[in-house]
C-alpha cells in the first residue's frame, strides 16, 4: 500500500516486430534459434514426434519374392497352353507347390495361381501322389509380391522434419528400424506468481483469485509438443521469485513467469530477469497483452554467480488471462516450433464482414476476438469483449482479427481477415442468434452441441437483434418487445423494423419479469413505485433491451420521471449482470427475469409476464441449418429442463405465433 514502493520505471512499449527480432537475435547468439538436440526413441513412442533424421530404408520390403495369395507356386511357362478343353496338369512338389500368402516363392517358380482357380487331383489314395489341374494360362510374376515392391533398401521413407503419423511409423518399421532420432521435447517451467492467487479447487475470498493461467499455458505447451512443468504458486516476494526462477533455469529450456510483469509495486519479474541475465524487452505494443517481458537468464543467482552453460530464455507473461494465452501464442508457440523443427502451419484465413465498428488504440497492434458465422452467402464477424480479463471471450472466439498498429479502428461493414480458431466446416453449420439474451439460449446451445449442431449467440438486446436481422447479420433473433399501445409482444416492432424481410415468429418461452432484490429485501421494496425513493440505487438495462422498454413503459404509466431514478444511467447488458450488480451491493434493485435472481440466490418480486419469441427469417426457418433447433422445441427433455427454471413457462414453446410476409 505504501507509495514509496512505486517504481520510477514505466513500461516502454516496443512494436511487436521489434520485440520479436530482439528475442530472436538473443536466441541466435546463444545458438537457440534452431532445433534442440535430437534423441533416439523407440518407434512405439514416436507418434506425433518430429523426425530429426531422414529414414532411408535399411532393408527392402518385401525382402524376398512373396506369394500374394494362398495358392500354388509354379512356372508360368508350363501353363501357357492351358484352357477349358486342354487343361494342364502339374505334379505337386515337383512342378507346383502350395504357398500361403506371404510365403517365399520357391527359387524355381515365377507365379502363383490362387487356390480357387485350381483343381486338386489325387492319383491314388495309397501313394497320396497329388497334382493340380489348371484351365487357364497364367502370366509370369502374377500374384507375386516382388522383392522391393513397397520399398527398396536405401530409398527415402520419410525426410527429417516430418511429424510422424501412424502410417509413417509403419513404413519406417518396414524399412528395418525400431528406433528413430527425433527432436527432443523442450522442457518449459511455468511459475505463477501473486500473493492473491489460490490453487484451483480451494475456496476464494474477496481479493483472492483462482490461479489458472499456469493451466492454460501448460496445456498450450503440451499441445505444441513441449513438456510443461507447473511450479507451485509463489507470493509477490522478489527473493522467492528470483530463487525459483534461477533454479528452474537449471533444468528447463524455457522459463515462463506469470504476472508481475507490469510496473506496479508488486511487479518483480523485470528485476528478476535483470538480476539473473539480460532484460531484452519490457512492454510490447499489443492489446491485450502489453506488459510482456522477454529476456535471457545467464546465471543461477544474483551478483557474481557462475554463468549457465547456455542462457535460458525467459518470458514474463502478463497476469490477465487473455493476455497470458495470447502471449503463449505469440512468443511460446513459434519458439517451440523452431525447437521441434515443425513446419509453421498457418491457420485458415477467411474474409468476413465486421458487423460493429471497433475503435482501437492507434499505437498498438490489437488482437480482436470475434465470433464468425455464415448468414446466407456472407461471412459475418462480430467483435467479442475486448477485456484482457475475459477468458470466456477466447472460449467463445471463432477467430482473431489483427488490427495493425497505426490504425484507429475499423468501421462497421468493412471486410476483415479472420484467423480461424474453428474449422470452416464447424462455422458453416453454426446458427447465429443475435438479440435479447435468455438462459434458454444457453440450454439450446447445450442441447444442440449433443446433436452435432452449434448455436452462437450474441447479446445486442431485442431491438438490436431485429436491426441485425434487417442487415442480414444473423439467422434468428430473440425478442421480448412489449408494444405500449397494443400490449402485444414483438409483432408491431417487426412491422416497423423488418419491413422487407418475411419472418416466422416462433414462441420460445413465457417469462416472469420483476425486481431483483438483495436477500430478505433489506430496503423493503414493494414495487416499481419505490424507484422514486432517492436513497435507492437502481441498475438498468441498456437502451433497446426489451426489459428497458418494459421499464420505460411502466414508469410512464406510473408517472415517474426516469431521470429522477438514481442509477437509471447504469446500464448492464444481461439479466445476470443486473443480478450480479444487486448481489455485489452496487445496486439495490433492477428489473430482470426470475431465473437471474434465482441463479445468484437473490430475492425476486414478480411483476409482469412476457413472451420471449424467436424471430426467424423465412429463408432460414426452412433451412436444414435451423432444423435441429426447431426440432428441439418439441423435445420433451429440453422442455422439461426449461420448465424447471424458475419463472419460465413452456406452454407455447414451438408455437408459430405469426408468419409475416
Amino acid at each position: 500500500m505504501a507509495d514509496n514502493r512505486h517504481r520510477s520505471v514505466f513500461l516502454q512499449d516496443v512494436p511487436l516486430q521489434e520485440a520479436r527480432s530482439r528475442f530472436e537475435r538473443a536466441l541466435q547468439n546463444a545458438n537457440l534459434w534452431e532445433p534442440l538436440e535430437s534423441e533416439s526413441i523407440p518407434l512405439e513412442q514416436a507418434l506425433g514426434r518430429v523426425s530429426a533424421e531422414p529414414a532411408w530404408a535399411k532393408i527392402s520390403s518385401p525382402h524376398y519374392h512373396a506369394a500374394a495369395m494362398d495358392g500354388y507356386a509354379l512356372r508360368a511357362a508350363e501353363t501357357e497352353d492351358a484352357s477349358d478343353r486342354n487343361p494342364v496338369t502339374l505334379l505337386v512338389d515337383q512342378q507346383s507347390q502350395y504357398v500361403d500368402t506371404g510365403d517365399p516363392l520357391p527359387d524355381w517358380a515365377d507365379a502363383v495361381v490362387p487356390i480357387e482357380d485350381i483343381e486338386v487331383l489325387y492319383e491314388t489314395q495309397m501313394t497320396q501322389e497329388k497334382s493340380i489341374r489348371l484351365m487357364a494360362p497364367t502370366s509370369p510374376w502374377s500374384n507375386v509380391r516382388l522383392l522391393g515392391e513397397d520399398m527398396v533398401a536405401t530409398e527415402l521413407i520419410i525426410p527429417s522434419g516430418q511429424k510422424l503419423r501412424p502410417v509413417d511409423l509403419g513404413a519406417i518399421a518396414a524399412g528395418g528400424f525400431d528406433r528413430l532420432q527425433v527432436w527432443r521435447k523442450p522442457r518449459v517451467a511455468i511459475i505463477p506468481t501473486g500473493t492473491e492467487l489460490r490453487a484451483m479447487g480451494q475456496p476464494v475470498k474477496s481479493g483472492e483469485i483462482i490461479e489458472f493461467n499456469s493451466l492454460v499455458l501448460a496445456s498450450q505447451v503440451e499441445n505444441w509438443g513441449g513438456i510443461p512443468d507447473r511450479l507451485p504458486i509463489i507470493p509477490d516476494e522478489l527473493e522467492k521469485i528470483l530463487d525459483v526462477t534461477a533454479n528452474a533455469s537449471i533444468d528447463h529450456d524455457l522459463v515462463l513467469i506469470i504476472a508481475g510483469s507490469s510496473a506496479g509495486t508488486e511487479d518483480f519479474t523485470a528485476d528478476v530477469v535483470e538480476s539473473l541475465g539480460t532484460l531484452l524487452v519490457h512492454g510490447i505494443a499489443v492489446r491485450p497483452g502489453h506488459p510482456v517481458i522477454l529476456g535471457m537468464i545467464e546465471k543461477t543467482s544474483k551478483g557474481g554467480a557462475p554463468r549457465l552453460e547456455k542462457p535460458i530464455p525467459v518470458i514474463g507473461v502478463p497476469g490477465y488471462p487473455v493476455s497470458a494465452a495470447l502471449t503463449g501464442e505469440i512468443f511460446v508457440r513459434p519458439l517451440l516450433r523452431r525447437w521441434l523443427s515443425e513446419q509453421d502451419i498457418q491457420p485458415e484465413l477467411i474474409t468476413a464482414e465486421l458487423v460493429r465498428k471497433v475503435h482501437s488504440r492507434a499505437g498498438d497492434l490489437e488482437y480482436l476476438r470475434v465470433t464468425v458465422g455464415k448468414v446466407g452467402e456472407r461471412w459475418i464477424a462480430s467483435p467479442l469483449s475486448r477485456g484482457a480479463g475475459v477468458i470466456t471471450s477466447l472460449v467463445r472466439a471463432d477467430g482473431i482479427v489483427e488490427i495493425p498498429a497505426g490504425i484507429q479502428g475499423i468501421p462497421s461493414g468493412e471486410n476483415v481477415a479472420v484467423r480461424l480458431y474453428r474449422s470452416r466446416q464447424e462455422l458453416e453449420r453454426t446458427i447465429l442468434a443475435l438479440g435479447s439474451h435468455d438462459l434458454t439460449l444457453d440450454l439450446l446451445a447445450q442441447f444442440l452441441s449433443m446433436r452435432g449442431s452449434r448455436l452462437s449467440s450474441g447479446n445486442l438486446g431485442s431491438l438490436g437483434g431485429l436491426i441485425a436481422l434487417q442487415r442480414g447479420e444473423a439467422h434468428l433473433a430473440g425478442s421480448h418487445l412489449l408494444d405500449p399501445e397494443t400490449g402485444e409482444f414483438n409483432l408491431p416492432y417487426i412491422e416497423r423494423y423488418l419491413p422487407s424481410i418475411p419472418v416466422v415468429v416462433v414462441s420460445l418461452v413465457g417469462r416472469e419479469q420483476g425486481l431483483v432484490l438483495a436477500p430478505n429485501n433489506p430496503k423493503s421494496i414493494t414495487g416499481l413505485e419505490d424507484l422514486a425513493r432517492t436513497e435507492l440505487a437502481y441498475v438498468n438495462r441498456q437502451r433497446g433491451a426489451g426489459t428497458r422498454i418494459l421499464l420505460d413503459y411502466q414508469l410512464d404509466q406510473l408517472g415517474i420521471d426516469p431521470l429522477s431514478i438514481h442509477g437509471y444511467q447504469h446500464e448492464e447488458y444481461t439479466h445476470l449482470a443486473v443480478a450480479a450488480a444487486v448481489a455485489s451491493g452496487r445496486a439495490d434493485c433492477g428489473l430482470a427475469i426470475h431465473a437471474a435472481a434465482a441463479a445468484l440466490n437473490l430475492d425476486f418480486l414478480p411483476l409482469f409476464q412476457e413472451r420471449y419469441d424467436l424471430i426467424i427469417p423465412k429463408e432460414y426457418h426452412e433451412s436444414a441449418k435451423l432444423r435441429p433447433l426447431l426440432q428441439l422445441l418439441g423435445d420433451t427433455e429440453f422442455q422439461e429442463t426449461v420448465a424447471s427454471l424458475p419463472g419460465y413457462s413452456i406452454d407455447r414453446m414451438g408455437e408459430i405465433v405469426a408468419v409475416m410476409d
Copy 2:
C-alpha cells in the same frame, strides 16, 4: 502345406454400407453405439478430452469488483470538477486508497485512477499525512473489473461434447471447477497373428515379416483418443488365438485381430469370432482391404461358457498394411468417435484432375491413393501404387479418391473429389516433379523439407515427364534422354515433345550408367554384347525411360536384336527396382546407374556417362515456389552430399544448359 486344411468357406463380400449397418445394429442392440461411461478427472489431465457434462459457472469471475490497474480507488463523483487549473485533492485513506491490480475495490469506492495519472502529496514529514491530486475527472466504474465481467455464476462455460482446449480449461477453472466429467477413453486390444511375423528390430529371414500393423493401428487408436494395448504376436494356431481373444475381451472395449481374416488354411479369425460370439460380416467389397471381419464377442470361451456382461465388438483386420490402416479409418475411427462423443470432422475435400486413367473392379468400392499438387491454377491428382502391401503409398498419399462400387474406372482428365490427408496450404507449396527417377530427387526432397518446402516426385520415365509438362501436370521433369542422332541429351526431345512451352533446362547431375551385376560377376559379363547370350536373364526398364532409350540405341549400334534378349520384356520402373531384380537372382544383369548397384551391394560395370537435367517451364522457373529448389543446387552441403554418391558428378549442377522459348 496340406490341402486337406483348405476351407470350403469363401468370402462373401458385402457392400460397405451393408457391413456398416450390420455392425451398427449389433452395437445398438448392445447399447454400445453411444458414448461409453463418463469419468471425473482433474482439469490438469483434461486437455483434448471431451466434456461429458456442460460446465455451468459455479462462481462469478471476478467474484468481486476488482481494481483493473495499480492506482487509487476513489468516488468518481468527487473528481467531477477536476481540471488542470482546478486540481482536486483527496485525502489518502479517507477519500482514496491505494490498490494493486486485482485488489478488491473498497465498498465506498466506485472507480480507480491509475498511478501515472496521480500526484502524491505529503502534508508533513512528521505526520506522513498524505493526499493525492488529480487534474481530470474520472467516470464511475472506470478501471474497475466488475463482478461477473468474465462470467456470472450459472452461465454456460462450455457445453458437453466439447473437445477441451487450453482456454476452455482456464475458463472452467475460473468458474470454480477443479475436475470435470469427461467421456472415458476406450481400451482397444490389438492382437497381431501370424507364424511368419517377427517383432520390430529382430533380423528377418526369407519368409519372415516384420510385424508393424499393430504399431500403425495402436498409433491410430492413440490419435483418435483411445488407449491401445498391443499384445504379443501369436502364431497361426486356432486355440491360442481363441484364448488370447477371449481374455482380451474381458478388459477391453474393442478387440482387433490382425491377419487371419481371409479364407486360407491359416486364417482362423472367423472361426474364433464364431466360437466366441456372432460373426456379422466376413468380407467387404472394398479395395484394398476386403477380407475384413466384423463380429461381437459374447463369452469368454467356446461352448457353454458364461456370457460376458456386455458383448465386445471385434474386428478382423486384414494383414496387408494398406488394408489394415484403411480398416482402422473405416471402422475403428467412427466407433471411437461415437464412444467419445466427438464431432465427426470431415476432412477437407478438393476437386482435382486425375492425370492417369484408373481401371477398377466394378463390384468394389476402391480407395485410390493419390498425390496432389497445384500446377498453375489447376489441382492435379496422380494415382499411386494400388497394392494392398505398399504402405509407402499411404506415406506418400496426399489424399484419397473413393471410386464407388459399380464403376469400372475413371478416365484420365476427369475431375475427382479428393479427401485430403495434408493441408491445402502444404499442398499449395508442394513442387510436383514427374519424369525420370533419380536418387538426387530423394535428397532434394530431404533438403527441401528442412527449408519449409516440399517436393513430391512421381516416376513416369524421362519421356513421360516431358509429356506431363506438355499437359501442364507438373512443375518440372527430370530427364536424361540421349538423342541417337546428335549425341545430345534432352534438347532435341524437348523441341519435339514440348513445342509450345518455353522451358529452362537446368543441369542437375552427371551419372554413370552401366550393368548391375550379381556380386563377383558369376556370369562373367563384360559388356552389352553379352546380352545376346541365351542363358542370361536381363531386367529392363519401361518404355520411355531414358535408360531404355540408351539401351535400345546401344543395341542398335551393336546389331543385337532386342527381342533375342531373354528378359527384355521384364520391365521395372526404377533403377533400384532393376538392382533389386538382380539382387534377388531373378535377373543376371540390367542397365542402371552406379548408385543403384551400390545401394544393394552389387557389382557394377560402368559403360556410359549421361547428363540428368531438370526441365522447368519458364513460368515456374521464375516462381517463388521453385526458388528454394533452385537455391539448393548452389548449396555446398547439398552438392557434397550428392557428390558422395557413387557414380555422380556435380560439375555442372545448377548450370542453365539451355533456355528454349
